[in-house]
Structures are given as C-alpha cells and as structure tokens.
C-alpha cells in the first residue's frame, strides 16, 4: 500500500507530494524532489523532524509514515 508524504524545499519553501512504497530509498526521494525542482547539481540531504535520513535507507527502515513532512536541505560543502 503506497504512502503519501510531503517534501519541502528548504531553500524556497515550496512543497511537493510524493507517493512512496516501503522499498523506496531516501536517495530516491532526494533525487525525485531535486529533479522536480530542477535543482542545480550539488549535495542534498533529507530530514524528517530532527533526524537526517541516510541515503541508502528505505522508507520502511526509517519508519516514514503516511502524511509525514520531510525537508530537502542543501548540504553546504563550500569553505
């Protein structure tokens, strides 16, 4: 049964809804959202509340629930 979550773009405040299965990975969410917003090539991370989600984890492993709100954050790598 797919679940529906909302991803927020930390840079613009825009949101997009995504439909996911338990085996989808965090990386797929990141790439899906970044692609939707046509974001520049760069590093991004995904947070769920106070947690940073690791890319290889699945939706099931990180216990993302129906109607959860996630946030796509650019990962600052300049110096």
């Amino acid at each position: 049964m797919p679940l529906r979550i909302r991803v927020r773009n930390a840079e613009t405040g825009a949101t997009v809804d995504m439909e996911l299965e338990g085996e989808n990975t965090v990386e797929e969410i990141i790439e899906g959202a970044a692609g939707y917003w046509e974001k520049d090539a760069g590093a991004y991370v995904l947070r769920c509340g106070k947690r940073l989600l690791r890319g290889q984890q699945t939706v099931a492993e990180v216990k993302i629930m129906d109607n959860d709100n996630l946030e796509l954050i650019p990962d600052p790598e300049g110096g």
Binding site: E27, A43, D75
Partner: protein, 261 residues
C-alpha cells in the same frame, strides 16, 4: 596574608578574560597540536579564532594561491597577495602569527592527500575547512584511523553546517553522504585553484556565515581539548543565516560505512 592586588594587573594578561571561563583549559590548548585543512574563507576564520582562543601549535595545509575574489571573506588576505600570487597557507600563517607572537603556525603548501599518513597521529584535533567532498573524505578517514576528532565545516551562501566526528563514538562524515554527494565528489564549491576550470560556476560565499561556522568549529575544538568532549556536538549542526534558525540534526552511524565496520 594573600598577595596584594595590583590595580590593572588583569589587563596585562592576554588571556585574562578567557581564564574567567572556568572550564577552558588554557594549558591544554597551548600544548595541543591542531591541524587545519584549508586556508580559504573558513581556514582564515578558524586560524584567527584558534590563535585568539589560546592554541599555540597549528599546522595549516592548503595548495591554493590568493585571488582577489577571496577578499570578501578572507580576513588575512590583501590585494598585494593577489598581485604577488601568494600562497594562502603561507599568508595565513604569517599574518596569524602576527596576532600572537607566541603561536607557531606551520604552513604546508600542498594537497591534503600529500600529507604523509604518519603525520596525522601527532595531532590532537583536525579542523576541516575544505571546499570539496573528496578532500573531506580524505581528512575524515585519516583522522578516524588516527583516533583524532575531526571537526568539519561547510558553507553555502547563508547556510552552514558543522559536524564533529569523535571516533569511534559518533557517525563520521562519510556516514551522511548519499548519491548526490558522490556525483559532485571533486567539485570545488567556493574557492579557486589549480584544479578548477575557469568556466565552473562559483558558489555563493560571504563572511558572516563563514564566521559563524568557523566559530562553532573552534568552539568545539576548545571544548574537546579542555576535557569537555561530552558537551560537544554529536551529530550535524545546521545553520540558516536567512531565517536565523540553527539546530543539531541527528545522524545515525551507517552500518555499511567502511570506517565503522
């Protein structure tokens, strides 16, 4: 009978005000060996803060030359350094030592990958002030293998982050990477240098966010060296200068990470 007080004596001590922070161990800071990787914007601020905090032994590694576009965020650089094609590490070392003649800053003009493996073990803390993920991975892994805390800083416009890696207790820098990082592994995010194509778009960078991130990096180093490791950041600190928000986000250790296996 106690020693008589001498009016104004406290103002003759460079570190009088730091001594009034009870937990700061100035003796430990003076003895500690500190490696700073990168002499760009973050490196400039980090060295300034390390010197003013009481660190006495700093090694600074950077391979780049000063260019004019560095000057909006690198306090030690001057226009003549651009004209003279001066090396960043050497300039920061020279002018950093002017802040306190009691400090030794050793400039190493090379890539961090060229630092011999045995060299890492002499340091008590490593501060990453880099502009690319590949070099960060190198510093992260070598610090981890040497059992030394690695304090990584990063900026992007008004956004910044600090991750403190305390082996083997905390997640490391590599634990937090995903495919988007690996796709831009060697991209230089803000500075210039020999390996950067001139047509590569540069990332936004400015001094206020740089200062915040560098200050947090140095503060974590001071806490750790002073024996307050339990008070150090254990995950990833994110800062947003536009919204004024900052928070520490929890990162778990990646069971597939080769450093933790």
């Amino acid at each position: 009978m106690s020693d008589p007080i001498v009016p104004g004596r406290e103002d003759g001590d460079r570190f009088d005000r730091a001594r009034r922070i009870e937990w700061v161990d100035l003796d430990a800071l003076a003895e500690a060996e500190c490696l700073v990787v990168g002499a760009g914007a973050l490196g400039n601020e980090v060295v300034k803060d390390l010197v003013l905090s009481g660190m006495r032994n700093i090694t600074l590694v950077d391979m780049d030359q000063v260019v004019l576009s560095n000057l909006n965020r690198c306090l030690f650089f001057r226009e003549e350094d651009d004209r003279d094609r001066a090396m960043k590490a050497e300039i920061v070392a020279e002018r950093g030592m002017q802040l306190d003649p009691g400090v030794e800053i050793r400039a190493v003009v090379s890539r961090i990958e060229e630092l011999h493996e045995t060299e890492w073990e002499r340091f008590d803390v490593v501060l990453g002030c880099l502009d690319n993920i590949m070099a960060r991975l190198h510093a992260n892994s070598h610090s981890y293998h040497a059992g030394i805390p690695y304090i990584d800083g990063g900026t992007f416009g008004m956004a910044g982050k600090v991750q403190m890696v305390i082996p083997p207790e905390t997640p490391c820098f590599q634990c937090g990477l995903n495919r988007t990082h690996y796709r831009v592994l060697e991209k230089r995010f803000s500075c210039t240098g020999r390996d950067v194509s001139f047509f590569e778009p540069k990332m936004p960078a400015e001094i206020t966010t740089t200062s915040v991130v560098a200050a947090i990096q140095v503060r974590e180093a001071v806490k750790f060296i002073s024996g307050r490791g339990d008070n150090c950041i254990r995950h990833v600190f994110h800062y947003n200068g536009m919204t004024g928000m900052s928070e520490t986000l929890e990162l778990s250790i990646d069971p597939e990470c080769p450093l933790h296996g």
